[in-house]
């Protein structure tokens, strides 16, 4: 339980004043309601620990969906000076580039109903590998895996999975530069080898959705979203490969630099050091693996749905990273310079004018895709100039958990979750009922409140609300 006094900046912005070894203050974007849950666990302690890291700039930031993680809190963002700052696997997370891709279609809800929603869901479940120990049929050679790690979604498109526009509408065009496969261990590669092109398990999912509400019609039009349209959301990451990269570099950094006495999970290396550079490269490889992974899943969705709708058109709205470190230009003390931004369970929120965005979105800012928990709404927001000024261009990434998996397993029956979702018109297919109970809607924060705070704080503005009609979980 956290008892310290927070300084109120506004209804949706709070500060943890600098104290002790903190180099910068903590900054939290939350309503009083969202603060209640954050105070219950170690979220604030983790925000303060991050503020102690060398080279941190401006503030240790927490997004509206923040909750306890390891090292950084989930929803934690920090930017570091490239000369004297650090890079930490604890600022990226184990699931490197856990990310979300939103696809738009030329279908409406009634098209799906006529063709048979349940049948379509079953068909997708058969076509896209998911769950524990279930990889794809694909057999990659070592050389091919290296190409995946270097070129990400661009590799997948070249190999025949999808089209150029798919990666154009992906953060970093689906390929983070500076990825050298030699920096990824053989152990990580062998975990990745059988898993490319699979969804995984846990909180990862594929969801059919319908655009339920438009808040900003001008921007929605540019994003290609209209009310009643069917969309598909894919949420997954770099699978075992990314997890192993994180574990490997935690070990290497511990050996070389030991860890900060306030938190072993904040083990780090200077950005400029050999090991810091190698971790960035390996992280980029894992991120590219995740981009390629979603690109292949996109391709299989297209192939599969063609059987039901021969004239279907499926295009990528955008694909955003949730767990990542990036070199980006930001204004520091009035002048623009390159810094390293770590987002751990947070979404980039670039506003209008950023050169990094595809031309079509440059006028209005990037699409920020925020998935809800299973059975609740998801949202599309637009990036803002204000986010660039106050949150290193970052906002929330999802609902954020409020209660444990242990209590969900003991208190919620997966069968009941499925029934109550079906009553709301949402079909569900999952690897197991127990897994379903762990992801039940009630274990998550109220996503509506999370995006309301983002909008009010001006770090990501509401554009559209999507409601689920069918969910597939690993």
């Amino acid at each position: 339980m956290f008892n310290m006094e927070l300084k109120k900046i506004s209804e949706v912005e709070w500060e943890i004043p600098k104290e002790g070894k903190m180099n910068v203050p903590g900054r939290i974007f939350a309503s009083e309601r969202l603060l209640i849950d954050m105070k219950k666990d170690d979220t604030f302690k983790q925000i303060m620990n991050v503020a102690k890291l060398p080279g941190i700039l401006k503030a240790s930031i927490a997004c509206p969906d923040a909750h306890m993680g390891y090292g950084f809190c989930i929803g934690g963002v920090a930017a570091f000076d490239t000369l004297n700052g650090i890079i930490s696997p604890g600022g990226v997370g184990f699931d490197i580039n856990c990310s979300v891709r939103l696809l738009k279609t030329n279908l409406t809800f009634s098209d799906i109903e006529k063709a048979g929603k349940k049948e379509i869901l079953h068909s997708l479940f058969r076509s896209i590998p998911s769950g524990v120990g279930r990889g794809s049929e694909l057999k990659l050679t070592k050389k091919e895996l290296d190409d995946v790690l270097r070129d990400g979604a661009q590799w997948a498109v070249c190999a025949g999975y999808g089209m150029k526009d798919d990666y154009i509408y992906t953060e970093e065009e689906g390929k983070i530069k500076g990825a050298n496969p030699l920096d990824v261990s053989q152990r990580a590669k062998s975990r990745g080898m059988p898993q490319l092109g699979s969804l995984g398990a846990g909180n990862h999912f594929l969801e059919l959705q319908v655009v339920d509400e438009i808040y900003d019609s001008k921007i929605a039009k540019i994003f290609g979203l209209t009310k009643g349209q069917v969309c598909i959301m894919v949420h997954c990451g770099s699978r075992g490969l990314g997890h192993q990269v994180a574990s490997d570099y935690i070990r290497l950094m511990e050996e070389k630099y030991s860890w900060p006495e306030y938190d072993r999970e904040l083990v780090n290396a200077p950005i400029k050091s050999e090991l810091g550079k190698k971790y960035f490269s390996a992280m980029a490889c894992a991120a590219n693996f995740a981009f390629a992974n979603k690109q292949m899943i996109t391709h299989w969705i297209r192939e599969d749905l063609k059987h039901y709708f021969p004239n279907i058109k499926i295009e990528v709205v955008y694909d955003v990273c949730h767990n990542i470190a990036k070199f980006e230009k930001h204004l520091i003390d009035g002048s623009e310079r390159e810094v390293l931004v770590m987002r751990k369970g947070a979404t980039r929120s670039f506003g209008p004018g950023r050169i990094e965005l595809p031309e079509k979105y440059r006028e209005v800012g990037q699409p920020v895709i925020i998935p809800g928990s299973m059975g609740t709404a998801s949202y599309v927001l637009s990036g803002t100039k204000k986010a660039e000024e106050i949150s290193f261009a970052s906002t929330a990434h999802g609902a954020g958990r409020v209660s444990s998996r242990t209590s969900a397993r003991n208190n919620i029956r997966g069968e009941d979750v499925k029934l109550s979702l079906e009553k709301k018109g949402i079909d569900v297919l999952a690897g197991s009922f127990k897994g379903l109970s762990e992801e039940a809607p009630e274990v998550y924060k109220d996503i509506d409140e999370v995006v309301r705070v983002s909008h009010e704080a001006g770090i990501g503005n509401l554009v559209a609300k999507l409601k689920p009609i069918a969910v597939m979980k690993g």
Binding site: I74, F94, R187, R191, A201, E254
Partner: protein, 135 residues
């Protein structure tokens, strides 16, 4: 009691117990299996593992991580550990028996073992460890 699960907002946290360090570790690996599946796994595939660590915590981390590695690369899920030994140089050897995970109903994947809140303690009753895994 071999192990028990504790409350944790986002992930899974457990404590495992044993008269010796080796027994405590082997109970921790059973807790890891229970996170992945509640089914009774049969001891069909037999393997031998050798794990090294710098201290008790890193040995535990590396030992548990091996099961995630075997799951991802060979679909191996643990059933039973036999002849587990930890020598003075912190080298752990064990015979591990298990099966192909595809034969069982799985609940969730474990992304990684973490050092978050991890400890390995010795008391009058023997050994006790605590682990949080990222799921």
């Amino acid at each position: 009691m071999k192990y028990k699960f504790l409350e944790h907002t986002a992930d899974m946290k457990f404590q495992a117990f044993g008269k010796s360090l080796a027994e405590c570790f082997s109970n921790a690996s059973y807790a890891v299996v229970e996170i992945i599946t509640k089914d009774k796994v049969k001891p069909i595939i037999k393997k031998k593992i050798i794990i090294k660590g710098k201290d008790n915590e890193s040995l535990l981390y590396n030992f548990l991580e091996e099961f995630l590695f075997l799951l991802d690369t060979e679909n191996f899920i643990l059933s039973k550990i036999e002849n587990i030994k930890i020598d003075k140089e912190l080298e752990l050897t064990a015979n591990v028996n298990g099966d192909n995970v595809k034969k069982y109903k799985t609940i969730t994947d474990i992304k990684a073992i973490t050092y978050n809140d991890m400890f390995v303690l010795e008391d009058k009753k023997g050994y006790k460890c605590q682990v949080v895994v990222d799921v």
